[in-house]
């Protein structure tokens, strides 16, 4: 496929990646810091023959995404933290009805209206389901604009493969930062519609009626649906782990960070390595399923330092992965505060 190099923001890269993956339906509602994404979709979706709708609310947007997915489209919506909270009911319905959908959360500071500074404080909401009921989304956390573009395409493939909502979890930095990336050409919207989706609502000509639903009132029916979902989650946990590991062979201290925080942690790591300090790093890319298997370095005495733009949310997944078998430290700020390279280096030296 023909590739070209462009300079683009993370928000636009996610939109561009979605279009390259054949996304042919987008509905969204404005909110900072993801506005470049909705604007990009408004401008370029019509060129591919897809549907763009500026919805009247986040509730409407997520339910439009539900409907379009039921009708066989490749669908996306995007928002930022407060807006994602509003979408939670709809996401639960999408999970329950087993519809593929891609949902982007470019996180900002909370709780409440919070502010528009980058944050990572929606990790719990994203990785634990967020809405009501026993469900999960696949959650992917890109750390640079190229990866945002690439993971947007991966997200559509995973959503279709497992009939599951997939969340791209970025933050305001990633969304607004510009970087040069390599891109493929956009797919025409018509090429992806209805491929191998016999469950789609298209009119019942020549077949029995299809029903898209999550309601299961008969005794035992909802338990069966839940067992089916759990089986699917088990497969995903086995097959869809993604992470980046650095210097895990000799690391005495392993930094653990994702997304934008991982970039800052990597800079600190590089400086510490230049000083001869044996520092490694684990960057989870799939936040759900969490890459537990990454937490078994050669050096059994390694200690872990989790760094987040929150007061310790991914920290709990690392605690579960380590299960008390290794020392664990935490450095985090939130509400617009971001741990700096210096703060990380100082913390590492404190632990060493």
């Amino acid at each position: 496929m023909l590739k070209k190099k462009i300079l683009i923001t993370g928000n636009e890269a996610i939109a561009e990646g979605a279009l390259a993956a054949g996304c042919n339906f987008y509905a969204g509602y404005p909110i900072t810091p993801q506005n470049e994404l909705i604007a990009y979709m408004a401008k370029y979706m019509p060129e591919t023959g897809g549907v763009f709708i500026q919805a009247e609310s986040e509730l409407a947007a997520i339910n439009m995404v539900y409907g379009a997915s039921a009708a066989g489209a490749r669908v996306m919506t995007s928002s930022s933290s407060p807006g994602i909270s509003l979408k939670q009911e709809g996401i639960s319905y999408i999970a329950g009805a087993e519809l593929p959908a891609v949902i982007v959360n470019i996180m900002r500071g909370g709780p409440g209206l919070g502010n528009i500074a980058p944050a990572q404080s929606d990790y719990f909401q994203a990785t634990r389901g967020g809405g009501h009921g026993d469900y999960h989304m696949i959650v992917l956390g890109p750390a640079c604009v190229q990866e945002a573009y690439d993971l947007a395409q991966t997200s559509f493939a995973l959503a279709d493969k497992y009939r599951i909502p997939v969340m791209i979890l970025g933050d305001g930095f990633l969304g607004q930062m510009m970087e040069p990336i390599l891109v493929n050409s956009k797919s025409p919207a018509s090429s992806r519609q209805n491929e191998q989706k016999p469950w789609v609502l298209s009119g019942c000509k020549g077949r029995k009626p299809n029903i898209i639903k999550s309601f299961a009132l008969a005794e035992g029916a909802l338990e069966q649906l839940n067992l089916k979902l759990q089986q699917k989650y088990k497969v995903i946990k086995n097959k869809e782990i993604r992470f980046e590991g650095l210097f895990l062979d000799d690391a005495k201290i392993v930094l653990v960070a994702y997304g934008t925080m991982a970039r800052i942690a990597k800079s600190a790591l590089n400086r510490l390595r230049l000083e001869g300090k044996k520092i490694g790093m684990i960057r989870p890319i799939s936040l759900w399923p969490f890459p537990q298997k990454a937490f078994c370095p050669r050096n059994k005495k390694a200690k872990y330092l989790v760094i987040e733009m929150s007061y310790g949310q991914m920290l709990e997944d690392v605690q579960l992965a380590l299960n008390g078998k290794a020392g664990l430290e935490f450095l985090g700020r939130s509400g617009g505060g971001i741990p700096s390279e210096e703060e990380i280096i100082n913390k590492v030296k404190e632990i060493l």
């Binding site: 042919n24 339906f25 509905a27 549907v51 709708i53 919805a55 009247e56 609310s57 509730l59 409407a60 947007a61 339910n63 439009m64 995404v65 539900y66 409907g67 379009a68 039921a70 009708a71 066989g72 489209a73 009911e89 709809g90 319905y93 009805a97 519609q193 609502l201 298209s202 009119g203 019942c204 000509k205 020549g206 009626p209 299809n210 029903i211 898209i212 639903k213 999550s214 309601f215 009132l217």
Partner: protein, 242 residues
């Protein structure tokens, strides 16, 4: 012998779960008959609401989707945009369409979405046991207005059809009733009009149906029909609104 009347093909041959005297059975059948008559069963996609009609897809024999409470018109908007060649309609109660889903209703109408809406107004939340609906009449007793709806405490019955008629995106609105056979026939012809409008790409069409809920009104089926005639249609006058 020539068969001149039968069950519509768009309706499964199963008993419904509705209470005796409920209007949903009649309304479901009218929709099914019109879909048969227009020959659109194989390209129709229905949206079932949250409310008593949540499992309407167990009775209708065509593609259907559930929608979260109030969001039927957001779901329908997207399906119709993705599949403009299909016929898409929502079937919604008063709580769904005129309380929790008011925003979706107004904006789908205002965008002039080429959709058909069947709006069941029975002045009460039926499925949850008879609480006050946006369309509950002044003085009407419900489980959440035990002394009757009071305009000071609870506001007025919401005339959402008249409100929607103000929007330039709306093509057709008619209010009909199920309280006697003549009105049922008028209801059927209004539903037909609302589907034909969609087939002819004429934009947003809504039929509001005054429908009996004997269980939550505390009346028998006959008294319920009389209550529509004597009380409900005074607040919600029948006829073409737009």
């Amino acid at each position: 012998m020539e068969k001149i009347f039968c069950r519509p093909e768009s309706l499964y041959d199963v008993p419904t779960h509705y209470c005796p005297g409920c209007g949903h059975g009649i309304a479901h059948r009218l929709v099914a008959e019109i879909i048969d008559q227009l020959g659109i069963r194989e390209k129709t996609i229905g949206i079932a609401p949250v409310g008593c009609a949540v499992i309407a897809y167990d009775y209708w024999k065509f593609d259907c989707s559930e929608a979260a409470h109030g969001r039927a018109l957001a779901v329908a908007t997207a399906i119709k945009r993705v599949r403009p060649q299909n016929i898409v309609f929502t079937y919604q109660g008063d709580g769904d369409l005129a309380a929790i889903g008011t925003n979706e209703t107004i904006h789908a109408a205002n965008r002039g979405e080429n959709l058909t809406v069947v709006f069941i107004n029975n002045a009460v939340y039926g499925m949850t046991g008879g609480q006050m609906a946006p369309t509950t009449l002044l003085g009407q007793k419900t489980s959440t207005t035990p002394s009757g709806r009071d305009r000071v405490k609870h506001g007025y019955p919401l005339k959402i059809s008249e409100m929607l008629a103000l929007l330039p995106g709306v093509n057709y609105i008619e209010r009909v009733s199920l309280h006697n056979p003549q009105e049922v026939l008028k209801a059927k012809s209004a539903i037909r009009q609302a589907f034909e409008n969609q087939i002819n790409n004429m934009g947003f069409s809504l039929v509001e149906i005054l429908s009996p809920c004997p269980t939550c009104w505390g009346l028998n089926p006959k008294e319920s029909l009389d209550w529509i005639r004597d009380h409900m249609q005074k607040e919600f006058p029948l006829g073409r609104i737009k």
